[in-house]
Symmetry: C2
Subunit: 582 residues, 2 copies
Amino acid sequence: MNDELTLYVAAFVDELVKAGVRHAVISPGSRSTPLAIGMAEHREMNIHLHIDERSAAFFALGMAKAERKPVALLCTSGTAVANYFPAIVEAYYSRVPLIVLTADRPHELRDVGAPQAIDQFHIFGKYAKWFVEMALPESSDEMLRYARVMAARAAAVATLAPQGPVHLNFPLREPLVPVITEQTWEQVKAEAPSCIEVTIGQKTLADEQFRQLYEQLSHIEKGWIVCGDLDKPGFAEAVTGLAETFGYPILADPLSQLRSGIHAKDWIIECYDAILKDETIAQHLLPEVVIRFGAMPVSKPLSLTLKRDPSIMQIVVDGGDGWREPTYMASRMVYCEEMEFCKRLVQYGSERGVSEWAKLWRDVNELARKVLLRAKHEDSLFEGKVFIELAELLPEQSLLFVGNSMPIRDADTFFMVNDKQIRVLANRGANGIDGVVSSALGASAVAEPLVLVIGDLSFYHDLNGLLAAKLHQLNATIIVMNNNGGGIFSFLPQANYRTHFETLFGTPTNLRFEHVVRMYDGQYYEATTWNEFREYVQQSVHNKGLHVIELCTSREENVGKHRFLWNIVSQEIAQFLAKRGK
Amino acid sequence: MNDELTLYVAAFVDELVKAGVRHAVISPGSRSTPLAIGMAEHREMNIHLHIDERSAAFFALGMAKAERKPVALLCTSGTAVANYFPAIVEAYYSRVPLIVLTADRPHELRDVGAPQAIDQFHIFGKYAKWFVEMALPESSDEMLRYARVMAARAAAVATLAPQGPVHLNFPLREPLVPVITEQTWEQVKAEAPSCIEVTIGQKTLADEQFRQLYEQLSHIEKGWIVCGDLDKPGFAEAVTGLAETFGYPILADPLSQLRSGIHAKDWIIECYDAILKDETIAQHLLPEVVIRFGAMPVSKPLSLTLKRDPSIMQIVVDGGDGWREPTYMASRMVYCEEMEFCKRLVQYGSERGVSEWAKLWRDVNELARKVLLRAKHEDSLFEGKVFIELAELLPEQSLLFVGNSMPIRDADTFFMVNDKQIRVLANRGANGIDGVVSSALGASAVAEPLVLVIGDLSFYHDLNGLLAAKLHQLNATIIVMNNNGGGIFSFLPQANYRTHFETLFGTPTNLRFEHVVRMYDGQYYEATTWNEFREYVQQSVHNKGLHVIELCTSREENVGKHRFLWNIVSQEIAQFLAKRGK
């Protein structure tokens, strides 16, 4: 009864589970039947169906991010595979482990015009860390062991730093329906037991290298620690230890996971974007050394500041073997696991305490924060205020997912340091506005409560993602900042080009999302006041199901209010520095 | 004022227009600003905005299909590009000319973690017929000429057989806003006039090769001409001429464009799928020779028949240099433009007239058609009946777009020969259920009236595509066959696997599309009877705007009724053959 297929698939799936893969996102298809049934029949594998493969892949990405573990993806042959591509690109750049399993026609049905047969070899190009054309199903001892080892290796390669997607392509012949019963699992465990365990070490430096680096830094008073997107449990404690040792303030991107949490916040500077907007002010606050962790932060003023001055010694620490250094000003690349780097470096001396330099940064940060928090008293639906409100409204242990384009910039400006345990995630590998709904919902399947803040174009782009909430009864709150189009362009030079501005850049869609939210059985709210907003958020995060809260805002007003606040920040800091200089 | 950029972009766009590219589908973005403005400012270029790049690319594909001309696509850097991939794959396999223009970060912002920068080199792999990394904008005479030649060449390469997508990647530096005025066009026409004209010849055989082939065929009485997906004006007349010369019936797939039109229909056989389902019957009706044009037809019984008997001489004619021969039974591949092949071959002899063989095929086809048309009297919402109704309801010059999975199979079975001028299109390159709404709407932008028949999963997959109808006031009728899930699996062996059948294969979504149709300002109708269906279709095709007609059908009933009719066809033909054999 189709034994070759059954045992081969069972061995593969069983080993995936052994390797710690407990979630698979599956899209329906015929060719993928063997693996779909294999995963559905395995007791320890949780399967999540999703019709649209593009959304499915982002759903898996969000889940893998939230879980910090590889998640499997499965689809049939043809353009289904190509629909995975945007999420694969994002996973590659944001270092998220995915195990992509694609069914394929067998060799004799390839490149001969057979239906739904496309060339899937290396279809994701460099974006798959590892591509394997799997052998046709066989059940010899050797090939069952092969199936197991490939599953274990897929999980290992996806997990090795830098984490990322791997792609296994399965040629499958008819008949496609395996006969998997309880006995199958026992049989496969007996005949082809799990055989390999994978242990992954960490990249570190030699004692001497750490000592030299410590010596060098110990003579420099003015330093910054800059932390971009980095989500490793324990990093907050490690990097604040580093800050205390050298007396360097930490410029912390919202995705550094340093603005929230139970670690000490004394060293965290969150308003550097607003502070550094004014070039003259930035000149007064320049460091001599920068130690940078994680991806390049969202802040453009920070990038420009680092780019302007070649005399700043910039040390980029990357545990993932990358070259995330768009300023071309780095003087040193250090390939070392980030926590290891922090913990080892502090062992060579004692804490330096709060210097004048550190105090100066704390003062200007406090000043900037006070100004920005004035937005709290704004009655109109100013987009930036959402993050000020959320810092208060979000329950402990929340996951805050932030959309690209404007929301992540507003989070950068307005999501201030707080003592809650809030994880902040975003798709910052390629910064796309695509797949954000699905990524957030994927995260919500393994981490609750989840709140997503997203713009209207990005929400529209992945409306299909909402189906997962309906199919899998997910609990999530989505806040849509609807400024009817591409808000970010009002901040860019394109805004001065009037002729076709609305057609090419503003791109208003005039969509009323209430309809589509209803279709997916979600609760829809339009918040027209901040009181309503607060009420709806509280109601949503404490109740089951999908909740969508829409705020209709104005692109023009929005850019004006941002600029107004940023100007005050610059003015007040300039005054402060002038006084201090006297 | 940014002259280098302005002139370079203007020269490129102007030459695209000169090369016959009159439509560009643009998605909003910052990096793509120069080209977007260049295209928007050119009087002879029609621009179509679409937010979701996946839908945008399918929209361009549909438009290029309907126009039979290359259409340009433009998006910004990052995952936007990756979203084009499914449509690029489809365009490659279905031989549709697309000119894909992607904006990219300049060299110094690549692979260094700069935002929205991904590696776009050869990102579509083999699916782009031609990839070019364009030079940075310069306005020397030489580089303006370069820009012009690249545009002309892109259109040429996309158009050369086999037609397909080409990809030009533009590195662009800030400032990104060109200053294009009426003077710009005059200046660019004066300083860098259009310089190259492209003439494309056709592949043909030598006289001697045609003569030999004619000789060979003239001795064979039992032949089929098999026509799959092929959409060339004039082919119908050419191939029916061939049929008359040799007395071979034409087995015509719905996408062969042979079932409708003003050409002679005497030779067209449209019920071969139902006829050949019974292997014993097929044995009685086997040809000695098959001349095959276009893609492999949809019909599985036809493929199986061709595959079973190696003694059938199968000649595959392909004007596009492909190898569309999944049966492995072809004895001859002929690389020659299809119409040329037909027209030249008939010159060597006179018409053979209607032989016994041809008459036999006409008789069984008539018989099968009569049985299948009994579905016309079906009161319940049987899916197959839709195409019987449409053959009557569709106005002259309609474009009928058919979704994949079940609709194309039902069109194959139930869309009978008629004398209207109806073009039938579908995405049969990779047979995906993705992007079908957008492909149809793209076609509707250049060809009306358009009617799309699509299943619920496929409709859901590309709901985003509906935005184009709203943004661009398109006129289109969409008929959604809503059987709440994947109807095709009920016809496959998976149907016998009960445990997780609905979860993995049936995949009901329980979506009520009325909501989403409203969001896109469409008219929604649910047809619960055939009278209503007829009324709604007539209303829709004669009125402006987007119209969606939903038929809620049953997967189980559907498979039963199909099988019932097919069985009668087999029985009646078996009786007919038995009588005839006496």
